[in-house]
């Protein structure tokens, strides 16, 4: 379960203070599929970064499985990102020097999983997203949709409970976007919590619940 309490984030850009999040209170249950929608600059990505343990709040708190992540060290946060959370980015963010298999195996590499196990599981995960014949390809040799599926396989690498997607269909065509949503729905059926940020109403409609954001606040 993910729970925020008066979560506030202030960015300081020189003299100017930007309130990215204002007193956000939100609860996401285990196994939920939730979409967070809203215009750009509404704070969705900031909220997502907090939930993904990439950033720390200015004030307020965010709990993941009742752990106050604001109190954790950098190393502990890295561990949570590695074990509990799988990230999918709009820009895919694959490592271009590594092939599909190695990209997918990378989080396991950081988790200290042995080479054999790692590569075997990476192969299975690629098959799961329909990329079994792209194992040796570099990201640049694949289409946008395929790259995003590779990124999903990577997100699943350490079998996380939570999948966080920041506009996961934002850079692919509609057809590929549907395939990606199908995969995310499938993962949700496996019992994983899926949190997706989008400004595409159609995508938001496929989630179990949708929360709207504006000016750093979650609307009811």
């Amino acid at each position: 379960m993910i729970r925020t309490e008066n979560l506030t984030k202030v960015y300081r850009m020189g003299e100017v203070e930007v309130q990215a999040l204002r007193d956000v209170n939100l609860e996401i249950q285990d196994g939920e599929f939730i979409a967070i929608a809203g215009p750009s600059g509404s704070g969705k990505s900031t909220l997502l970064n907090m939930m993904g343990c990439l950033d720390k709040p200015t004030s307020g708190a965010i709990f993941i499985d009742d752990i106050d992540t604001g109190m954790l060290s950098e190393n502990k946060l890295a561990e949570i990102r590695r074990e509990k959370i799988g990230f999918i980015f709009q820009q895919f963010n694959l490592i271009h020097t590594l092939n599909a298999l190695e990209n997918v195996a990378l989080p396991m590499f950081f988790a200290g999983v042995g080479r054999e196990t790692r590569l075997k599981r990476a192969e299975e995960l690629l098959a799961k997203v329909g990329l079994e014949d792209r194992v040796d390809h570099k990201p640049s040799e694949l289409s946008g949709g395929e790259q995003q599926r590779m990124a999903i396989a990577r997100a699943l690498s350490n079998d996380p409970e939570i999948i966080i997607g920041d506009e996961p269909t934002g850079n692919v065509d509609t057809e590929a976007g549907n395939v990606i949503m199908d995969i995310l729905e499938g993962l949700n059926r496996e019992g994983r919590t899926i949190i997706v940020v989008t400004h595409d109403a159609e995508i938001a409609a496929r989630a179990g619940r949708t929360k709207r954001m504006r000016d750093g606040k979650v609307l009811d």
């Binding site: 990439l54 950033d55 890295a78 980015f89 963010n93 990378l106 950081f110």
Partner: protein, 396 residues
Amino acid sequence: MRDKFLMAYRSIRERRARSILTVLGIAVGIAAIVSLMSVGYGMEEAITGELTKMADMISVMPGEISGHGYVEKGSFTDRDVNDLQRIGGIKDVSAMTYDAAEVEYRNERTPIFVLGGDTKELGSFYVEPVGLKEGRWLRENDYKGCVIGDRVANDFFDEVIHVNDKLVINGEKFIVVGIFEKASTLYAADVDPHIFLTLRTSKEVLQTDEVKYIMVRVYNIADAEEIAEEIEEAINDNHGLDDFTNAMTMGSALELIGTVFNIIRGVLVSIAAIALVVASIGIMNTMLMSVMERTHEIGVMKAIGAKSRDVLTLFLLESSLVSFVGGVTGCSLGVVVAKVMSLGAGTAIGIEMTAVVKPMVLFGGMTVAMVVGVLSGFYPARKASKMSPVEAVRYE
């Protein structure tokens, strides 16, 4: 760990051109150190090696060697030579005469120094190390034979002298029975411009009984220094002076040369150190560039669960791999350069010289490469590991 090596190797290979340049940077620095040190050792060994062959020898001269050169104070007497034979520990004593004589060859005249001494002693002192180009060495009964140095044969007269040619020395006719090879630097001053005669004939030709030079051989090299002092004492007593004579052992010459070479090596190492500083700035630059360029990648790695330590390790591995390859290349390059350099230098100054590659120097070169690599990789690696994942991921 093996996987981390593979990762590091990947990213080095991905930036091939720049990695090669960095490797070259280190390699040149290390090659400079290795080659300069090896040439230095080679030079030292070439010179001390020749001297060590004569370590049981003490040269006694009637004069003083000072900072300004050699000042002759007279000549030895038969009594001096006899007294020396009485000192314990001495194997043999060989007296030599030495003076300028007028030499005529095919109606051309020029003054040349003539050196006379015991043929066996002179032979072991000069013929063994220098060698003869033509003819043979003197025999005790060669009353009318002489052996000449390379410059006497080739430079002193318009026409080149060969074996069996006739020379007139101070009005007496001699036949050239042998000609020396061109001597190396160490012997050039002793051999090249001289005419060698037996002691008896040289005394006749130079019309003197004076002994200008005594060579002493000792049984035990360890005693040489002590015996040299006794020699000086005995001869100074005979002449009633405190500093009439100078007895020099090869050991003291070796010590002097050792000091000189320490200074030379110091200079060479400082030159190499400058090269290395330049190289390490190069590595740091490459690594910094690499960090900047991969800010995004580092952010992604952190977002998917890499700890700061993982990132630090990866970047440090990268820089140490680069410096290891640089070190190995540098050492090999250094050895090759050292061989070529000492061959060239040896030919130029006429010493037979080979570079001496000491394992310590290679080991030191590798250590320096690794230390420089890791140290100059550390700052960029740390910078990379400290990046905030959110900002790094956003960086394009």
